[in-house]
């Protein structure tokens, strides 16, 4: 029988996979990595892409992750998956937006939350458009 290791794929919002596997292939930032049991300890960020798992018995399963971190121990592989598409610009936009909301709320003495909300939604929409354009550009 082939050697196996324990694989956990978790995101902050839910558990995606947990079980034993023979091979895990993951999209690391420096190119795809294939992890077999008894691999040395390693830690690397992941790109958005497909994680392929060959489960015990040879059955294959593939899971999409939008980036994250891969941690390898000799008999345990853990993938901490991001829940969202992360890009530096996008994080920046979200940060700016949060700051803007605070500033806006302080300015509005009457507590005009509706306008702040509208502005926040505008910023959110703008950020999403930005990302979509970026993703299209890549393709």
């Amino acid at each position: 029988m082939a050697m196996t290791m324990h694989v956990d794929i978790v995101s902050a919002e839910h558990e995606l996979f947990s079980g034993t596997a023979e091979v895990v292939i993951a999209p690391a930032v420096r190119g795809e990595v294939g992890i077999y049991p008894r691999h040395t300890q390693m830690i690397t960020p992941l790109k958005p892409g497909e994680v392929r798992i060959t489960k015990q018995g040879g059955e294959e399963e593939s899971i999409y992750v939008s980036g994250g971190i891969l941690e390898v121990q000799p008999h345990v592989v853990t993938i901490l998956s991001d829940t969202a598409v992360r890009a530096h610009d996008l994080d920046e936009a979200a940060a700016m937006e949060a700051q803007k909301r605070a500033e806006q709320a302080l300015k509005d003495k009457t507590g005009d939350m509706e306008e702040a909300e509208a502005l926040a939604q505008l910023a959110e929409a703008a950020a999403q458009i930005h990302l979509i354009q970026k993703l299209r550009g890549k393709k």
Binding site: E13, Q41, M42, P45, I69, E71, L80
Partner: protein, 288 residues
């Protein structure tokens, strides 16, 4: 004594209120179950994350991340305050804000200034009224908050920490103990408090870092902090629902009691009116 009609309209209106509170109680109960599931679902991620950080903190890394190092002097501290968006949930927010203020006063007595990051509209309102320095804000996360909604606010605080604007970061939320009890918590996020020192000797190995230790650790630390904040948010949602359920149950019970009392008053008034009518008829008949 109030007339029968007056009492009857009052009973009607209380019954309507009772219907609403009853409905809110049931909605909160069903939402609480979902919130608890979500809370449980976010646990494995932060547990795993903690394990990895634990390994990293004691593995022989050539690079010590600034989040792991204690700063000698504290000039300014940051608070991430997680509250609910809506009220009608008993003393949940008030208790939390009290706990935060207690901690803030300890710092301000030492001449340390405080920055706030508020998550949820109740905290935003409260700390605005307190004339607190709110540097970032998030609200209207709904019942199923996602990590996405938090990234921005958390990043503002992390950037402030990186730039040395704040030297310590706390997160405040309500911990879900059980349906009846919610405990306000104020936990230190940064610098990361190292976990169990005695395990240090066991870890004589280090990871292979790809591309290098700094990048990996940077990404990891940001996600770790985010996951802690996210967990706080999910717990707070569960607390909100539980507290609302309890508050609405109490309101429904109180309305029931009030209706019973009023019913008694109404019956007495009705009886008195009938007695009076009979005596009037009898005395009228006697006069004829």
């Amino acid at each position: 004594m109030a007339s029968g009609k007056e009492v009857r309209t009052k009973i009607k209106s209380i019954q309507n209120t009772q219907k609403i509170t009853k409905a809110m109680e049931m909605v909160a109960a069903s939402k609480m179950r979902k919130a608890q599931d979500r809370m449980a679902a976010s646990r494995p991620y932060s547990d795993k994350m903690r394990q990895v950080i634990h390994h990293l903190a004691f593995a022989h890394t050539e690079y010590k991340h600034p989040y792991l190092l204690e700063r000698d002097e504290v000039k300014r501290v940051g608070y991430i305050i997680i509250s609910t968006d809506r009220g009608l949930c008993g003393g949940l927010n008030t208790n939390e804000f009290k706990a935060v203020l207690k901690s803030v006063i300890e710092w301000s007595d030492q001449g340390v200034e405080v920055d706030y990051c508020t998550i949820g509209t109740k905290a935003a309102g409260f700390f605005k009224r307190m004339k607190g320095d709110i540097v970032s804000q998030a609200g209207h996360l709904g019942d199923a908050p996602s990590v996405n909604d938090l990234i921005g606010s958390v990043k503002v605080m992390l950037d402030a920490y990186n730039e040395g604007k704040i030297d310590r970061l706390y997160v405040a939320y309500n911990e879900f103990v059980n349906t009846m009890t919610q405990e306000p918590r104020v936990n230190q996020l940064l610098p990361v408090i190292s976990i169990k020192e005695e395990d240090e000797l066991k870890h004589h190995w280090d990871y292979i870092y790809e591309p290098d230790a700094k990048d990996v650790l940077d990404g990891l630390m940001v996600r770790y902090i985010e996951s802690l904040v996210y967990q706080g948010v999910t717990e707070n949602v569960a607390c909100e629902m539980a507290a609302r359920m309890i508050a609405m149950k109490a309101a429904t019970d109180n309305a029931g009691e009030l209706i019973n009392d009023l019913q008694l008053v109404y019956n007495k008034a009705r009886q008195a009116a009938i007695t009076q009518e009979i005596s009037e008829i009898v005395s009228g008949a006697a006069a004829v």
